[in-house]
Symmetry: C2
DNA sequence: GCAAGATCGTGAATCGTTTCAAGGTACGCT
DNA sequence: AGCGTACCTTGAAACGATTCACGATCTTGC
């Protein structure tokens, strides 16, 4: 029942603990015969390295924290997956945390990660707390902000303003003149930027405030999108083009419109954001703004790893990636 | 830059490390004045407990691993979320791992968790490796199987056979006599059981093998569901009732059918499985078999915690929960 | 004024690793 | 024989916390 330690292995193999450790970490220093004997003992006893002790000795674990606002939106889990893959390739592991939309939970995640002695954190913050980030950073953790630029840390994100503009301009080229923007909470910066980008583009194209309506939904889920559709249908005159701040909203909205007998895109066109897998298989395949998810995750990991690798002279980079309009059928 | 340790705090506050530890863990043993002084130093220095060292000393961390086959299916992330909530309530934290459909990755997850010294693991195994489970268990970890019963460990799952039967019987009561079953890989037990349950129910109701078609999709995604729909439409005669092994498949399938001009449920009825959030907001709100997700996760945590609490005389329980048919519009 | 408790604080041992200076052996070379 | 080199192996000192037996100091009661 008691856990097998390196010491047990050493005794069993008739060598010192140092040698067992060498077999584990620098096998080339150990004579072949010895090495095999030790390996055999390891197998026989079912020894599993205690990473906890190893970390303690080594200072920091080979672990990066990943803090996401939710696991229910495939966009985020995919970014995380790409990040994790990149870590694994470098011998690091991911520690996933979810803030679940709560600032308090987000703090708990960060505390947890810091206590767990991770060497860095990739975080998609709800609402950037610069001080907390500085603190983390001061404690020697590499911090990479996802979708948010911060002072004095690395960050990687897509250009949401450009993305919003992309969506709006697409609707405008299709001659839509009455637009509805269905956003999430504007307190969240990426959401706000998508919205501003879209509004700006519309205004630049000669539309006026009166041509624009905004629904600010509390959640960015399909259910919220559905609710938005219901509300949309009470508008008079009806908008002909809708931009949703993410695909989940767009999916719920389109579904409800179709159910109500509205033809998409003939009567109302809809553009989403993110290009999650579900977008392509929707009833009306969704025209949407694709975020370079895999690149986002991968780059975030790279930045974090670069910083942990050489914290001394590391200059923080702000990587901003370009979103891409994916035209399908909904607009 | 160097991490602040309990020793630094002790020096700063002019006490011994033992006292600082007491402030942290048994504050009642420390005089109020001292306690406050230490607390002040902790705040001032920005001390963060090194959970790694604590774990080393204490034997096992207050962490439970959660191994899921994918983060892209909301069903699993929701189960995980419920499990995590229950852990948090008991002072435990969750360590999330994804096997991503690969047996090898699953092994890596388990190795990782064991090295991390977690005190237990909740696992939704791809394909149960009894030996590995026994090994984990032998190493003193509490193991709880999700959706799979195993020998000599706790498990909690829904009754998939009953769920499959529920779905099939619903189609049968609606007078469907030509059924299509769109399943995932039948090598996965829960999938197989859903299928068997459905087939059995159909046969019992007097249908023959010739009335039943099965598509075994490699993935259980909306894209796979879409592909299944395309193939479905080549069938002659067309089935009138379809049971999909999960909601993602069903969603993709329904969407494609609707796109092709097929009326759901009038011409073809579809039943899904899981009742993920998206099911309710689909174009044709999905009739589906709900799994008690929250209860599943919560119960799994409870079982694991019970075992870690008192490993000596703990009898392993096999909890099986009942699925429930949710009738909406698709069938 | 003193013994017996009660109340606090200390310091060393410990958890399982890694690391590294130092010790052994064997071998070849002069 | 003596010495230098290579090659292996050892043992002890960390890492940062917790725990616990033991002192030190203060009360209290007689």
């Amino acid at each position: 029942m008691a856990r097998i330690s390196i010491r047990d292995v050493a005794i069993h193999a008739g060598v010192s603990v140092g040698t067992v450790s060498n077999v584990l970490n620098r096998p080339n220093l150990v004579a072949e015969a010895t090495r095999e004997r030790v390996q055999a003992s390891i197998g026989e006893l079912g020894f599993v390295r205690n990473e906890t002790a190893r970390q303690l000795r080594q200072g920091r674990g080979h672990i990066l924290g990943v803090v996401l606002p939710t696991m229910s939106n495939p966009h985020f889990t995919e970014v995380g997956r790409a990040a994790e893959e990149a870590m694994n390739a470098d011998g690091f592991d991911a520690l996933w945390c979810t803030s679940d939309g709560s600032r308090a939970k987000e703090q708990r995640c960060l505390d947890f990660l810091e206590e767990q002695n991770v060497s860095g954190v990739l975080i998609s913050p709800l609402d950037l707390d610069e001080d907390r980030v500085a603190e983390l950073h001061g404690h020697g953790l590499a911090v990479v902000l996802l979708d948010r630029v911060g002072v004095r840390v690395c960050s990687v994100g897509a250009d949401h303003r450009a993305g919003g503009a992309l969506a709006a301009r697409h609707l405008l080229t299709r001659r839509h003149r009455r637009l509805l923007f269905v956003t999430g909470p504007l307190s969240a910066r990426p959401v706000r930027e998508r919205h501003h980008g879209a509004v700006r583009a519309a205004l630049n194209a000669g539309l006026t405030e009166r041509d624009l309506t905004t629904f600010e939904q509390a959640e960015m889920t399909a259910a919220a999108g559905q609710a938005a559709a219901v509300r949309l249908l009470t508008l008079d005159p009806l908008p002909t083009g809708v931009f949703c701040a993410n695909d989940l909203l767009a999916l719920g909205l389109v579904n409800e419109l179709v159910r109500a007998g509205v033809k998409v895109p003939a009567e109302i066109s809809v553009v989403g954001y993110d290009d999650i897998d579900l977008a392509a298989t929707a009833v009306v395949p969704l025209t949407t703004v694709r975020q370079p998810r895999a690149e986002l995750g991968r780059t975030a990991t790279e930045l974090a790893l670069a910083e942990t690798g050489d914290p001394e002279h590391h200059d923080h980079r702000q990587v901003v990636l370009s979103p891409e309009l994916i035209v399908r059928e909904s607009a």
